[in-house]
């Protein structure tokens, strides 16, 4: 009798565990502003779905490694990444194509966000522009080529090639200098020639704010997601509108292959892409909307990458081109620029 009871208890425990498994969604997100995103999106979603959302963070390399290591038995159901990281996971066969008919907000998305890496492997949820932030009391910027001009010698920082903003900067510099080669050979050569006059190749935009306040650096390419750090300070910072245009990128949501939690995953993605949630996230200045129906005030829009005109004008780099060339870029960069 005792044994039977113990077995029954064990069975109940297993059933309970399986049940909990069904009602648990594990997501992998950027560490940037996680608390705010949890309050604005993940916790409210828990109320809607009656499930538990487990949030995992880390840098992109760690998060991608985790998805790859657990390919046979995915621990992550949904992840958000840059387009190029999503594409590299897709190429390794780690993602499953999305059935977009299950996303009711899909038709509201900007065209560029609908199928950014092909085969419906991902869907965009936020855009960002990248341009040059500068001290308008000390300098004026109207071209990407100004970054390497004599006027700015010794006063410019560029993003490191290892980050997302690095290749975008090289792309626009190349456009401005008249080089149109995805190997970036001539552009990297031009940067190498000026390398001694470039203050640093920064990795985090947070370190840049300090350098620009103390006038060490007076112009640098920055992603719009970091703009509020500058615009909120007492110094006269300006966001350049170079004649070659602005560049930028998109962050996407994806689903791991055979995660077994598809229903909840679609529900979560659809929730995040809905006009209601995208508006909430935009108003908190956490992300710029990919949902074209979102309407925000001018004051909010100022901090974001907002509006069809701007988004459609961004000179984005093809994620496939980034993956195919980045090893060669890094090699050339290491050899010519920082050696």
């Amino acid at each position: 009798m005792k044994r039977l009871f113990a077995m029954g208890a064990a069975l109940a425990l297993i059933a309970g565990a399986a049940n909990a498994q069904e009602n648990k969604l594990t997501i992998s997100v950027y560490s940037f502003g996680t608390d705010a995103m949890t309050a604005a999106v993940f916790n409210p979603f828990e109320e809607v779905c009656g499930c538990e959302v487990v949030v995992e963070t880390g840098n992109s390399v760690e998060r991608m490694a985790k998805i790859e290591a657990n390919a046979a038995n995915p621990v992550i159901d949904v992840a958000v990444m840059s387009t190029q990281d999503a594409l590299s996971l897709a190429r390794k066969g780690l993602l499953q194509p999305l059935d977009v008919s299950k996303l009711s907000s899909y038709d509201d998305l900007y065209e560029a966000a609908k199928d950014p890496i092909g085969d419906n492997m991902a869907v965009g949820y936020g855009f960002y522009a990248t341009s040059i932030v500068y001290r308008s009391d000390l300098v004026d910027i109207d071209s990407w080529a100004d970054l390497l001009s004599d006027d700015l010698k010794g006063r410019v920082a560029l993003p490191n090639i290892t980050g997302t903003q690095g290749p975008l900067t090289l792309y626009m510099l190349g456009q401005a200098l008249g080089y149109d080669d995805i190997s970036f050979a001539d552009t990297i050569g031009a940067v190498a020639e000026s390398a001694d006059d470039i203050v640093t190749f920064y990795s985090r935009s947070s370190e840049l704010v300090q350098l620009m306040m103390q006038e060490e650096v007076i112009a640098a390419p920055v992603g719009r997601f970091a703009w509020s750090r500058f615009s909120g300070s007492d110094f006269p910072f300006k966001w350049a509108e170079p004649k070659e245009g602005q560049t930028g990128g998109m962050n996407v949501m994806l689903m791991t292959k055979d995660n077994g939690n598809e229903e909840l995953a679609y529900q979560f993605m659809d929730y995040w892409l809905s006009t209601e949630v995208q508006t909430r996230v935009a108003e908190l200045k956490l992300d710029s909307p990919a949902n074209a129906k979102v309407v925000v005030s001018d004051e909010i829009a100022e901090s974001l990458t907002y509006g069809a005109d701007l988004i459609n004008s961004l000179n984005m780099l093809d994620p496939a081109a980034i993956i195919d060339n980045r090893d060669a870029w890094l090699e050339r960069w290491n050899e010519e620029v920082i050696n």
Binding site: N59, T200, Y202, Q210, L211, Q214, E215, N334
Partner: protein, 273 residues
């Protein structure tokens, strides 16, 4: 002291098990990857690492800065230590406290302060321009000079502490005796002080040199990606490229350099006997 060896061994056992399981084993597993290529034991990874010009630059820079920081801190350390041991007990305690104080402050805070001090609008550049040494502020941040200063400030206290304790053991009358016998100060230093304090110098030198090789914060904050050192390169390999093999190779090189420096300093010290 013990009834038999077994008691002594039993006391050492917990620490030994702890070290073996939680330190030696994982480090061994991690580093063994650095000696394998396609599942075979091989040193090919080291050859590939060594032929890359960037790696050579970074290796030589790390070695050079480690050596410079250790040498300069030895010079400053001897002067400070000599001064400290010749103070009365009360001031000695106070000054020694001042030397130790920076060790209680986070290295991040200490290093970060240099960004302000060495910046274009910082006091160093104000002084340079004010004294007319240069018309415009000079760029110090993100140069080897900045990394050198950051490392020196971080590790100088370790050298001073080692040398102070070595000098405290110096018999009080050897220096007056040498002077009376006609030695000049240079001879006093090279023939009396240096041989008698060499253990402190070896200790301080090893701490400062290995510390400078393996410090991450000063090169990361003050050097950035323009002044890569082995430690920042290691971080980049792991965090940007997810390349644990190269990281293991760099770690092995750092460990070998640290042990090598210690052996070399000991050898030099022994030769002077």
């Amino acid at each position: 002291m013990f009834q038999n060896n077994r008691e002594g061994l039993a006391l050492a056992l917990p620490a030994a098990v702890f070290t073996a399981l939680l330190f030696l084993l994982p480090v061994g597993i991690l580093l063994s990857e650095a000696f394998r290529v396609d599942g075979q034991w091989s040193l090919q990874g080291y050859v590939d690492f060594a032929v890359k010009p960037l790696n050579q630059t970074v290796f030589l820079r790390t070695l050079k800065l480690g050596f410079l920081v250790a040498s300069v801190s030895a010079v400053i350390g001897y002067a400070s230590a000599f001064c400290i041991v010749n103070m009365d007990a009360k001031s000695r305690g106070r000054v020694f406290g001042l030397v130790v104080l920076p060790l209680m402050i986070s290295p991040v805070a200490r290093t970060y302060a240099w960004i302000v001090i060495l910046g274009r609008t910082g006091i160093v550049n104000d002084a340079i321009v004010g004294l007319g040494l240069s018309d415009t502020p000079i760029r110090i941040l993100f140069t080897e000079t900045a990394v050198f200063l950051g490392l020196l400030q971080l590790f100088l206290p370790l050298m001073i502490i080692s040398l102070v304790s070595a000098m405290e053991n110096l018999p009080k009358d050897v220096i007056p005796a040498a002077r009376v016998l006609g030695a000049n100060w240079f001879q006093v230093f090279t023939k009396v002080i240096l041989p008698l304090t060499k253990d402190g110098l070896v200790m301080g030198g090893t701490l400062v040199f290995t510390g400078s090789l393996t410090a991450y914060i000063p090169p990361a904050i003050l050097g950035g990606s323009k002044v890569l050192m082995l430690e920042t390169l290691l971080y980049q390999r792991v965090n940007v490229a997810n390349d644990f093999v190269s990281a293991g190779i760099i770690a092995t090189i750092l460990i070998v350099m640290s042990f090598g420096a210690n052996l070399l300093l000991k050898r030099i010290a022994a030769a002077r006997k």
